[in-house]
Symmetry: C2
Subunit: 207 residues, 2 copies
């Protein structure tokens, strides 16, 4: 049976990584989508494990040849999702998950509308503010901007298939797990030839 792509979006601080990391150990055939980037590897990062590290020229070529599901530039470096990795995993029967912002998700929706789009919500703006502060990496000014941006982002939830409110990590992870497990059971993923072959013989079964 073929797999599928799960696209996870949500405001910064919603807990996308924590939720995904809690789900991975519970679903063996769930893989993380590896991105391609022009950013140089950081210490400890391994090519084809953390990222596909590629030159500007190679990135340009991938764009030209339409080999990316989406792409974006952050602080001078380019990032993208190679189609080949996602398609190979799906063909091999794996589910592939990626976390990406609203803009990236919109690009993927264009190219793979059959993907499963999940939006992760923080429980309240107050709680999101608290989490961003706890993280300690943003100034108050940046946190204020993130909160305002969250409101804009949440309007896009209507373009997604499922939503999860992350008020409790274990519960949110269980809900993401339920979504992924039930998506495996979609009739559209059945091998109808195999199924019909199995039951065609039904009337000749010895009773």
């Amino acid at each position: 049976m073929k797999g599928f792509l799960i696209v996870l979006s949500g405001p910064s601080g919603a807990g996308k990584n924590s939720v995904m990391n809690a789900v991975f150990p519970t679903i063996p055939n769930l893989k993380y989508s590896i991105s391609v980037t022009t950013r140089p590897p950081r210490v400890g990062e391994v090519d084809e494990v953390n990222y596909f590290f590629r030159s500007e020229e190679e990135f340009d070529r991938m764009l030209e040849e339409d080999l990316l599901l989406e792409s974006a530039t952050f602080v001078g470096y380019r990032y993208g999702t190679p189609k080949s990795f996602v398609h190979e995993q799906i063909q091999a029967g794996n589910a592939v998950i990626m976390d990406i912002d609203i803009q990236g998700a919109a690009q993927i929706r264009e190219k793979m509308p059959e993907a499963v789009f999940v939006f992760l919500l923080p429980p309240t703006p107050e709680e999101l503010s608290r989490r961003l502060k706890l993280r300690g990496s943003d100034s108050d000014e940046v946190i204020k901007r993130r909160l305002a941006k969250s409101y804009e982002e949440i309007k896009h939830i209507v373009d997604y298939d499922y939503y999860i409110v992350n008020d409790d990590l274990a519960r949110a992870a269980e809900q993401l797990r339920q979504i992924i497990m039930s998506e495996w059971l979609r009739v559209s993923r059945i091998d109808m030839k195999r199924l019909q072959g199995l039951w065609e013989g039904g009337s000749s079964v010895e009773v």
Copy 2:
């Protein structure tokens, strides 16, 4: 939040009742759809618990006034699904489940295409034959006919949203549970007004 209707079909002997009964205790807001029938109550059956027991005239009136989601006649008695019960439960935030044959499911699909359609499959024709024999209520001839009918029924699986192979009761029940739990998380069921109201205030949160 509003609930939804789950329609469970599958060949006789697939295990629809066993699977449903295993799921009920795990989902408090899952209710069984109560049918209306012209059949007289059997000993121990209670009106509005097991069935809505109604006269032929009352049944006719319900049909005329379009108060049934589906209806059928079996061995001289008429059966149907009252819209009112299903709609009341959905409004109250409950999921409602019913098991019904392919024909009934097709009638419901006409009137409530937003319902969730699940097809329960026996693992193989051989196993289905074994189960029907174990049940002891059918002659070999009837079992042979049921097997042939199963093949015809399984062709209709393409009209359903999800499928479950009942090779292990606990696993099949868990899969039905996953489907129901993930359907609660559909973005289409979000109260967008409430959500937007919650986040609109986000930029005024004290940081």
